[in-house]
């Protein structure tokens, strides 16, 4: 019997071609030639090692492929929504996550956004041709949307927000976007091409991670909440860098130029009581009832607040419902409230809040006035 037969039998075994008789023959041979034992073990392991999969490359390639399909008259985006409803009957699709449901429920908003998105990126033709144009996606009060960047990164854009990026250079060396408003990013990992988000007050650099950025103009603070991974935040006014860890939240006071002071708030109380520190590193807020992270609840189509001042809540509700709210009582503004709304109308939400805090409200077209 030939010793080399070990390798013939090994090949058959690894490729799933070996018969039962051949498998036991292999065992016998390895026993007879003990020095083959180690290579046999190593080759077994080597065979099972997967090759490097490149999700970002695949996402980007599929994006280009979709463009080529569109040139031939097949628009996948159209089918995406048609099948969305059909698929509800399929067992495979029944396990859909909340996030995905959000995707479909906001299909109308999304279609509008995608039209804009596609108009701006319509100049893409072949694999080699340069893309030109700046892409801009924006939402109004009362609407939210989800988009996918050319590298596969998902961005959920909250109400009254705007995301801009340069289509020509996106992803060539660095992936750069500019944001005003609030967005949740799920960034596709690519160590060679850092993803940078520019806001008025801070730049956030990431390699691959999920996090929320809130930087509405006119608001007192800019906030970054990190769900997983790590990010590096650069504060523009002072060239200071802060590395954040998961479950941390960085709050920057927008209109203060006092000396550098970094506070780590141990409890929520500290956030409320401190006299507007410049920078605060605190923790994400967990909604007690169902352990949802308050900062990113909106991504799953929920308006959540936990122990927040009524005037802050009013701002959120203005954007969420596309209305205007004024509070004409100073003490009422400081009331701390907790709540979570999903499908409720603005009136149902206000009525629910009335159960915990005594106030009245009157409605005049799109303007709501809250008083004691």
């Amino acid at each position: 019997m030939n010793r080399d037969r070990i390798w013939t039998l090994m090949s058959r075994k690894l490729s799933g071609e070996a018969t039962q008789a051949e498998l036991s023959e292999l065992d016998d041979l390895v026993k007879r030639y003990p020095d083959a034992d180690i290579p046999v073990k190593f080759i077994h392991e080597f065979w099972a090692i997967p090759t490097e999969s490149d999700e970002e490359f695949l996402e980007a390639t599929f994006h280009l492929h979709s463009d080529r399909l569109k040139e031939k008259g097949f628009d996948l985006e159209i089918n995406k929504f048609e099948t969305g409803s059909l698929n509800l009957d399929m067992p495979v699709e029944r396990r859909r996550s909340k996030k995905k449901l959000f995707w479909f429920s906001s299909a109308v908003v999304l279609t509008a956004a995608i039209v804009v998105f596609n108009l701006l990126s319509a100049s893409k033709k072949t694999y080699s041709q340069e893309k030109v144009a700046q892409s801009e996606v924006s939402t109004k009060n009362g609407s939210r949307t989800k988009i996918q960047l050319p590298d596969g990164t998902s961005v959920w854009l909250n109400s009254s927000s705007k995301l801009v990026y340069d289509n020509t250079n996106f992803g060539s060396n660095i992936r750069e976007v500019s944001l005003t408003g609030e967005a949740y990013f799920d960034v596709v990992k690519n160590p060679n091409k850092p993803f940078v988000i520019h806001t008025a007050k801070m730049d956030i650099k990431v390699l691959g991670t999920a996090f929320n950025v809130k930087c509405y103009p006119g608001e007192k603070t800019t906030e970054t909440s990190l769900i997983r991974g790590s990010v590096e935040v650069t504060l523009k006014d002072r060239q200071e860098k802060i590395i954040m860890k998961p479950n941390e939240k960085l709050i920057l006071n927008n209109d203060d130029i006092k000396p550098i002071k970094q506070l780590v708030a141990k409890s929520k109380q500290a956030v409320i009581d401190k006299v507007n520190p410049i920078i605060e590193l605190s923790h994400l807020t967990i909604f007690p009832k169902d352990s949802t992270i308050v900062e990113t609840g909106w991504v799953e189509n929920r308006l959540i607040f936990s122990d927040e001042r009524l005037d802050e809540i009013a701002k959120k509700m203005e954007r969420w419902y596309g209305v205007s709210i004024t509070i004409d009582n100073e003490r009422l503004k400081k009331e701390l409230l907790t709540g979570s709304f999903e499908k409720e109308t603005i009136y149902q939400a206000l009525n629910a809040l009335q159960l915990t805090t005594a106030f009245t409200y009157k409605v005049d077209k799109d303007v709501i006035t809250i008083s004691k």
Binding site: T8, I38, P39, I49, S53, R68
Partner: protein, 195 residues
């Protein structure tokens, strides 16, 4: 340990059905994600150009979507994809080099590196690199067979059909490749018994 990304016949048929009956884009995308890289790599070995290979595979996937309604008529979708890519690549080769013969010695087989994040018990990065070098030095025919068996999980008769060679040749060539790797391992791995 991180498992190899494979798709079994049942899962593949399910995707096929979702694409055919529901024009399900997510199933189509999944199919693309499963097969794009191996098909591109196979096409590259014939065309020796990344762009041409990507375009050839993209063309095949466009065809798949174009005739999605008849997709269930294809009995073996995996082999259908491989053979379509082979034929499309050879057609392209004919346009540029006036040859449409698949010459196994004239291939440029790229052996994708092992996933550096894969958990292994025995094989260190250094050892994996040595094995890669050993595979790199194999003759092209041997290399493509080894690659299709290990990385693409193709059966002997599938490889035989794709490359127009006999099952016996595959048996021999795979055995040669493994023997070569075993030699490398024998000289690189310290035996626990030898002090």
């Amino acid at each position: 340990m991180k498992k190899k990304q494979t798709i079994n016949a049942h899962e593949l048929h399910e995707l096929q059905q979702r694409i055919a009956d529901y024009e399900d884009v997510s199933a189509y995308k999944k199919l693309f994600f499963y097969f794009f890289l191996p098909l591109k790599s196979f096409s590259y070995s014939i065309l020796k150009s990344k762009e041409a290979a990507e375009e050839a595979v993209s063309d095949i996937f466009i065809e798949i979507w174009a005739k999605r309604k008849q997709l269930l008529e294809i009995e073996d979708l995996k082999m259908y994809l491989y053979i379509s890519v082979r034929n499309a690549s050879l057609r392209r080769l004919q346009q540029t080099q006036k040859t449409s013969m698949l010459s196994l010695d004239d291939l440029a087989v790229e052996f994708a590196s092992a996933d550096p994040n894969a958990e292994t018990f025995l094989i260190t990065n250094e050892l994996a690199h040595k094995i890669d070098l050993a595979i790199e030095s194999l003759p092209q025919q041997c290399k493509i067979i080894f690659k299709l068996a290990k990385q693409d999980n193709l059966k002997y008769k599938e490889i035989a059909q794709l490359l127009n060679i006999s099952v016996k040749t595959i048996d021999n060539q795979l055995s040669t490749a493994l023997k070569k790797i075993a030699t490398i391992l024998n000289t690189s791995v310290k035996r626990p018994s030898s002090n």
